[in-house]
Amino acid sequence: MQAYTRKLMNRPQWLLREGMLASASRYPDKIALVIEGQPYRYGELQDAAMRLAGRLREEGVRPGDRVAIYMDNTWPCIVSIYAVLLAGGVFFVVNPQTKMEKLRYVLEDSGARALLTDWHLAGNFIPAVEGLDALRFLVVSGEPRESVETGNRLVLAFATVLAESDPLSEPVNVVPTDLAALIYTSGSTGDPKGVMQTHQSMVFAAWSLIEYLRLSASDRILLVLPLAFDYGLYQLLMAMKLGATLIVERSFTFPARIYERMRQEEVTVFPAVPTIFSMLVSGHRKQALTFPSVRRVTNTAAALPEALLADLKEIFPNALIYKMYGLTECKRVSYLEPELIDEKPDSVGKAIPGTEVFLLKENGELAGPGEEGILHVRGPHVMLGYWRKPELSEKMLKPGRLPGERVLCTHDLFRMDEEGFLYFVSRTDDIIKTRGEKVSPVEVENTIMQMEAVKEVAVIGVADETLGSALHAFVVPESETGSLDKRVRKHCAERLENFMVPQKVHVVTQLPRSANGKIDKKRIIEEEWWHDEI
């Protein structure tokens, strides 16, 4: 055991990296990760991360510096996450589907000092980093194999860095109240916001989830969700803390490949979102699927449709099924004990261990049983705020009962029954949930409004069996309309992640307006405005 690991064993509060370090000293030869079939041991992960951390430090990364990781679910991505933490930095993972303009936005917003990425994304990251002075260097996996200097910026080759750099002698000192990560999330204002999470809050949340999911070191957890999504990221954090094994795939794009891997690797934990469950069930209805090794199935991001439950019990005959609810601003709010899934079919359960929730009515009083109120959350998992967005932070974090305490106001409307079980009623913002992702209609509308041919636009969510909600854009053209629907989708596809590109674009002569002159989205749906297409 390394001296620095021995020292941390008796500490009451750990840093986020220390779960991995402790597992690496306890089980250095155990398989930590199986990435697209390739196994990696805990010892290897620690060694690689310490080497990359050594180089980050040498190139000037200091405690509190933000480092962007723009990669798929790969070995370099996971090494990078821990390397940034070991160097005392603050990591944030950017979804590899992110296009140039938005990548540039988050690099600029975060003031990232370095970008760790993969060569196949060069088409986006090369133009994105141009002229960003705060960004000092890049580490790129894949090509080029040798480190080069372009402009006056160093581009290091990931493989060379791992082979040649000296590891850190010991992890760079930070404290549990320091930032560990930013997690970018869509907001109703349009621009993505970086949720600030400290070591303390992330270590706490990982512990709380492990506790109620009843996980152990013998678990084999599947990761098909992106590491840029907190739900994906926590699978890694939990697995590494437990000394368990994480089975990593890039995505759920090729289900047959995932099924084969799940059988080979005897996966015990299957975390997914409703769109994945829906694809799984439709496959099962064609040709029966069963995964007897799976002991835990978890759903969050959007409600699990009741119609899928019976099939899921057939597909996972030995699993406990967890329905959960949360938001990035506190990682997770609630979960339903899996034994109650038939008894409380509409509930998302109770607050996660070590936290508290309450509902406030419009007049600020506590809502009684059965009454509707806005859900508020207390506990160590609540974010510190949004990175450099104090006004938006104030909207979400309200003064608590104790001096200096901040309580998270979710802005979601809930009901609670006599026994304290929570029931989701509605959102009070206009965020659309599609494929388990949060989409801000304003962000899509702003993107479409950049087009000269567009005079007005409204983006709404239309119920869809597989996607949850499908994105529909209603566009009023400036003048000529020639293939405008296609041009709108192309414009979006070049600028937004795939899930934000409208499935359907309706070109219409006008949009309904409310009394105060705002576009009335409710009427678009109620009056079936798509029949007005040009």
């Binding site: 995505s251 090729f254 047959a256 490949r257 099924y259 694809m279 494929r435 296609k486 596809a493």
Partner: protein, 82 residues
């Protein structure tokens, strides 16, 4: 149009929203390029079933069959030939 051309024009039109043939190479990974994802692959399969009258089994939905225009072409030809 050849099989390959049909596949390419479907991908260009529905995922890249263009008719510029240089927008994607026949050997390029659709996943790497961020062209398709889990719902996109289902659209490709529907297209293959309608256009070429083939039946795609769940266990055939793998990158070797569907991750590039050339792979899709080879896959369709093996199905049609069989």
């Amino acid at each position: 149009m050849t099989t390959e051309e049909k596949i390419k024009s479907f991908i260009l039109e529905n995922f890249l929203f263009t008719d510029d043939e240089s927008a994607i190479g026949n050997e390029e990974s659709l996943l790497d390029r961020g062209v398709i994802d889990s719902t996109g692959v289902m659209e490709v399969i529907l297209f293959l079933e309608e256009e070429f009258g083939v039946q795609v089994q769940d266990d055939e939905i793998i990158p070797e069959n569907l991750d590039s225009i050339s792979n899709i072409k080879r896959f369709v030809e093996s199905k049609v030939g069989a």
